[in-house]
């Protein structure tokens, strides 16, 4: 019955079934267990990689960011005071790493040292060469996503992405961004309003579903 769905408001996909395991592993990692830390890496590296990829659209950059996130997490995990907030903490580190990545990129651009022109196209080709049709569809999808996200304000974009692409709950987002939950909801509300008006993007999504 949909009634239940109205009461609680879970993230749209992939419920956090591993949270208990995460807390246990985090407690062990905080206490100094490298094995537990490595298990946390195994549990979260895909999430962090995707998070970074959605913000860079470059596999190699996303991999580098992911690497840095876990190095930083390893160096600082003994200082983590609330093991139940490990995921939020890890995403905060990831957001900072993405921010650093763009600052360094800006610096290189300012200094005229930036190398690649259109990283995205290169990445698509590199990743998907075997199937040109599939490749085209992926490019199309990411262009739609970019066009839509470009219409959002910085905060709307970040919150929308964390919520609906990284599957984080409102409380987790609130912890990561250090904003209160009602602020998070307000930005989400505005972002969803823009999403609803994005008929091309919505049409693309539903058309692809039927393929």
């Amino acid at each position: 019955m949909p009634q239940k769905n109205h009461e609680d408001n879970p993230p749209p996909t992939r419920s956090a079934t591993l949270s208990r395991q995460t807390v246990i592993l985090t407690e062990e990692a905080v206490a100094g267990s490298e094995t537990a830390f490595n298990s946390l890496v195994d549990l979260f590296q895909e999430d962090i990689f995707r998070m970074a990829y959605y913000r860079t659209l470059s596999r190699m950059d996303a991999e580098d960011i992911t690497q840095n996130v876990f190095i930083k997490a390893f160096k600082n995990i003994s200082r983590l005071q609330s093991p139940e907030r490990f995921k939020s903490w890890l995403f905060s580190i990831a957001l900072n790493q993405v921010r650093d990545f763009y600052r360094k990129k800006r610096l290189l651009t300012m200094l005229g040292l930036s190398g690649k022109g259109d990283d995205h196209e290169q990445d698509y080709e590199e990743e998907n060469a075997p199937d040109p049709l599939d490749n085209l569809m992926k490019q199309d999808f990411w262009k739609h996503v970019e066009l839509f996200l470009d219409k959002l304000s910085r905060m709307e974009r970040e919150i929308f992405t964390l919520r609906f692409m990284n599957h984080l709950g409102i409380r987790e987002i609130s912890n990561i961004l250090k904003k209160n939950e009602s602020t998070v909801k307000t930005h989400l509300y505005r972002a969803l309003g823009k999403f609803r008006k994005e008929s091309t993007m919505r049409q693309f999504l539903t058309e692809e579903k039927t393929l």
Binding site: T13, V41, E146, L149, L192, L205
Partner: protein, 180 residues
């Protein structure tokens, strides 16, 4: 507001319900529980958002380089390591013996010189270890971002300050924008 049978949720309430249904006024919630039409609209919206996230996952590339894992330094228990260490030590001993043998000093006080040579070889090994540990000169370590993270962040903050001191934004590949 009175939510009758035909008083469906308005646009704002649809959005509110998609964000968090508990944010809806009690009457609207009651209407929602009784109105399949409104529920269907919300479910359609949620379905589209689910599609977006699923496609993003499907269309993101696979990670090729696995993330950092802590690996304990290899110890004497590892036979490859032992073999390497033993080979290195053997070479050093041969070198030391050769040096001692050919050294004019060796003719007179071989024991002392042998000791000195071993001390020197220890020193040499220590120097090599230091060089391996700090392969890059400090300035290169700094440039490569392998120095202390705090210093690095401070430096970056100084050179490229954050525009609004808020969160990073999506990179627009189309416009080439980085932060906006």
């Amino acid at each position: 507001m009175n939510y009758g049978k035909d008083n469906h949720l308005n646009e704002d309430q649809f959005l509110l319900a998609t964000v968090d249904k508990t944010e809806l006024p009690a009457e609207a919630r009651e209407h929602l529980s009784e109105c399949p039409q409104c529920r269907e609209q919300i479910e359609n919206m949620e379905r589209e958002l689910t599609l977006l996230s699923r496609m993003a996952e499907d269309f993101a590339p696979q990670q090729r380089k696995r993330a950092f894992r802590y690996v304990k330094p290899r110890n004497a228990g590892n036979w490859i390591w032992s073999l390497r260490t033993a080979s290195g030590a053997a070479v050093m001993v041969v070198l030391a013996v050769t040096l001692v043998w050919w050294s004019p000093l060796s003719k007179t006080t071989p024991e002392v010189v042998t000791g000195v040579t071993f001390q020197e070889s220890d020193q040499l090994m220590a120097d090599i270890d230091t060089l391996v540990d700090n392969a890059l000169p400090p300035i290169h370590v700094y440039i490569s971002g392998e120095s202390g993270p705090e210093l690095d962040e401070e430096f970056m903050e100084f050179v490229v300050p954050i525009i609004n001191n808020t969160t990073p934004t999506y990179n627009s590949g189309l416009k080439g924008a980085v932060l906006c």
